[in-house]
């Protein structure tokens, strides 16, 4: 067995140290992201937890979506995300024309897909002013973002999945 030269030994040490440093940094980054994402952590790591949102600071995803929906005139709305799937639920202030329905689902889908840039799918649920469920429209979030960039409602309609939501006791 040949003995390693000092230079080769030094190179090995640098390589091992670099690998360990990268691994440590990766683990540290994962732990920070885990804590910032709301994962349970020991008391000693509580300082990593996200602070309460600053009311005058930039809006998070949910607040961005809700502020956009308010600007469109939706008084009541709910938005949430889980595993890359965003659900936007809106109560339409009035449902007196088909155009109101179509533009409502466009607005809800776009607000959800754009406010959550990492979302994979987005679902809009339209309710009547008295909270009667009416319609659900789902689409791939990438398609919604692409259609929004081109302002192309026709392509969104082509790929959207629609479902009536007749609820027992809520039908005409």
């Amino acid at each position: 067995m040949t003995e390693q030269t000092p230079r080769r030994r030094f190179t090995w040490r640098i390589a091992v140290a670099s690998a360990l440093a990268v691994a440590a940094l990766t683990i540290a980054a994962l732990v920070v992201l885990y804590a910032r994402g709301g994962g349970p952590v020991p008391d000693a790591l509580e300082f990593l937890r996200p602070k309460a949102p600053d009311p005058l600071g930039p809006s998070g995803s949910a607040e961005t979506a809700l502020r956009t929906l308010r600007l469109a005139g939706f008084d009541q709305a709910v938005v949430g995300e889980s595993g890359g799937a965003v659900v936007v639920r809106v109560a339409m202030p009035e449902v007196r024309a088909p155009a109101q329905v179509e533009l409502s689902w466009q607005t809800a889908l776009a607000a959800g897909a754009l406010a959550y840039p990492y979302a994979r799918s987005v679902t809009a649920q339209l309710f009547a002013p008295d909270d009667t469920p009416l319609l659900e429209v789902s689409a791939d979030a990438v398609i919604v973002r692409s259609a929004a960039a081109r302002d192309d409602a026709a392509s969104l309609r082509r790929y959207a999945r629609l479902r009536y939501l007749p609820a027992a006791g809520a039908s005409p």
Binding site: L30, L33, R70, G83, V95, A128, R157, L165
Partner: protein
């Protein structure tokens, strides 16, 4: 919540089932079993009590590892003392519970807060008790109440107790009205502060064993390590914690709680307007960012959104004839191959046969069916994208009247008094309005949502968690806040003020009025729909 308080609440839950008095009372009452101190004080030889039951609603659910609950309770209690003197108290309590699993998921504990109103009435005898709910007489005091709760979980049922620890008077109709302490809301006991109230309610969101999964052992695992990492990467969806006006929260909660069959479920940490975050805060932040004015959305993005929505705003049509509309709707639905269309067609036909078709709902379903069948509008996708970009990128100023208005909407008092106290604002006598003349904003509200007195000023009746209140000021005095918001004080000594709460969005406009606490305008007491 500190460990000491969790332990206190757990202890309450553990001792709850052995209280025989409360167990007996629970049989005759609803999920929230409120027993007044007076019921223990005036009984047998010491007098008599009679109670008229009112609202008794309670819900409790586990969502995202936390408990969220709500209690809405109202009753009228008549008492006759040993000297024969009778009186009555009408009470209304509305509180929100928040908590976490405890004791390995077999218990729950947390805190609660909300509002309660007590109205005292004079009675000649207890036989007059039935007339109390309709009586406009009485002296009312509104309290902000809070405390802690704890419950044992078994078979999907939470069996627990709730102890009022603070009752701070917020407003009182008369300076002489008697103020009660927190113990008045608890049961009679030899212990200082009284004994806890009982509740027994079905809990949703528990696991198959009827237990609450703890964050570390259940809900935490459900998201997984990389689930939290991904969430940390995407950023918290959180919104600032804020009190939501009770008048708004109740209707907004119905939208969040709805679970239509076949529809995608809302994620556990969904955020609802007027449940988790006040809509007034979202509007105030949009105004502070320069994206919203009294005329509607502003800026290039706002104008583009308004323009894109304009045809739909103009396209609203009158209500259809129910029979014709139903037949047309069924025809449309039969031609479509869309999930749910066959079920809906069946429902419409059944409603048509029974003659119970609601024209407004039929019109809504007709509009939906037409929009599903074919494209009927242009695109608002690009305009919505521009608005999302503006919302995300425009920085809100950290100081000044608009920033103060944002903080006031969240209930913060860390702002100059003129931002939240109407009397601290600048009077604008040119906008003052007589109590009887239908001019100005108060006149519009009185005409749409108010009543009249014979030859006197118009009346405005509103219902809060505190009960029904009627006001009839001779004059509505106008005050302007530094951000341009106008409040009309109900009389020179008024305790409430009107504000134009109209939501002027690009697609829809919702004309409405807010009735605010005049000394704390972030607290909306009532909302009047002016459509």
């Amino acid at each position: 919540m500190s460990a000491r308080l969790i332990a206190l609440a757990c202890a309450l839950a553990l001792v709850a089932p052995v209280s025989p008095a409360s167990a007996a009372a629970a049989d005759a009452r609803g999920p929230y079993d409120h027993v007044w101190q007076a019921e223990g004080m005036f009984s047998g030889e010491r007098g008599e009590t009679r109670r008229l039951a009112g609202t008794d609603e309670m819900s409790l659910r586990l969502e995202g590892g936390s408990f969220i609950g709500h209690v809405a309770y109202a009753d009228v209690l008549g008492t006759r003392g040993p000297d024969g003197a009778a009186s009555a108290q009408s009470a209304s309590i509305e509180i929100t519970l928040a908590g976490t699993p405890a004791d390995g998921g077999g218990a729950a504990a947390g805190s609660f807060s909300g509002q309660a109103t007590l109205v005292s009435h004079a009675l000649a005898s207890l036989d007059e008790l039935r007339g109390v709910p309709a009586s406009p007489d009485g002296s009312s005091v509104v309290y902000e109440v809070s405390g802690h709760w704890g419950a044992r979980l078994s078979g999907g049922i939470a069996d627990g107790e709730l102890l009022y620890e603070r009752a701070t008077p917020l407003w009182q109709e008369s300076p002489t009205a008697e103020r009660k302490g927190a113990e008045w809301f608890n049961r009679l006991s030899a212990e200082p502060g009284g004994a806890a109230q009982r509740f027994r309610v079905e809990v949703s969101g528990l696991d198959a064993a009827g237990k609450a999964q703890t964050v570390a052992g259940g809900a935490g695992r459900a998201r997984g390590f990389f689930g939290y990492v991904a969430r940390g990467l995407a950023g918290q969806p959180g919104v600032p914690a804020a009190p939501v006006p009770l008048a708004l929260a109740k209707s907004a909660r119905a939208l969040k709680d709805a679970a239509p069959p076949g529809a995608a479920k809302l994620p556990a940490d969904s955020v609802a307007v007027d449940v988790d975050v006040p809509g007034a805060y979202l509007d105030a932040k949009n105004r502070a960012a320069g994206l919203l004015a009294t005329t509607g959305p502003t800026g290039d993005a706002g104008k583009r959104l308004t323009l894109a929505w304009a045809p739909a705003r103009a396209a609203a049509v009158p209500l259809p004839d129910p029979a014709t509309a139903a037949q047309d709707l069924v025809r449309q639905l039969r031609d479509q191959d869309v999930p749910g269309s066959a079920d809906l067609a069946r429902d419409v036909e059944a409603a048509l046969r029974s003659g119970a078709a609601d024209p407004a709902l039929l019109q809504a379903w007709q509009a939906v069916a037409t929009a599903v069948r074919q494209a009927v509008a242009g695109s608002v996708l690009g305009a919505t994208q521009a608005e999302v970009d503006a919302v995300r990128s425009v920085v809100v100023p950290r100081t000044g009247p608009y920033a103060a208005a944002v903080l006031v909407s969240l209930g913060s008092r860390a702002v100059p008094p003129p931002a939240f106290d109407v009397r601290g604002m600048t009077p604008d006598r040119s906008l003052d309005s007589s109590g009887s003349a239908p001019t100005g904003f108060p006149g519009i509200v009185l005409a749409r949502a108010g009543g009249t007195t014979s030859g006197g000023p118009g009346t405005l009746t509103y219902t809060t968690a505190a009960g029904r209140t009627t006001i009839a000021p001779d004059v509505w005095l106008a005050y302007e806040r530094a951000d341009g918001t106008i409040f009309w004080l109900a009389g020179s000594e008024g305790a409430v003020a009107l504000q134009d709460g109209t939501l002027r969005g690009a697609g829809f406009t919702l004309p409405r009025a807010y009735l605010d606490d005049a000394s704390y305008v972030g607290r909306i007491l009532a909302v009047f729909d002016l459509r």
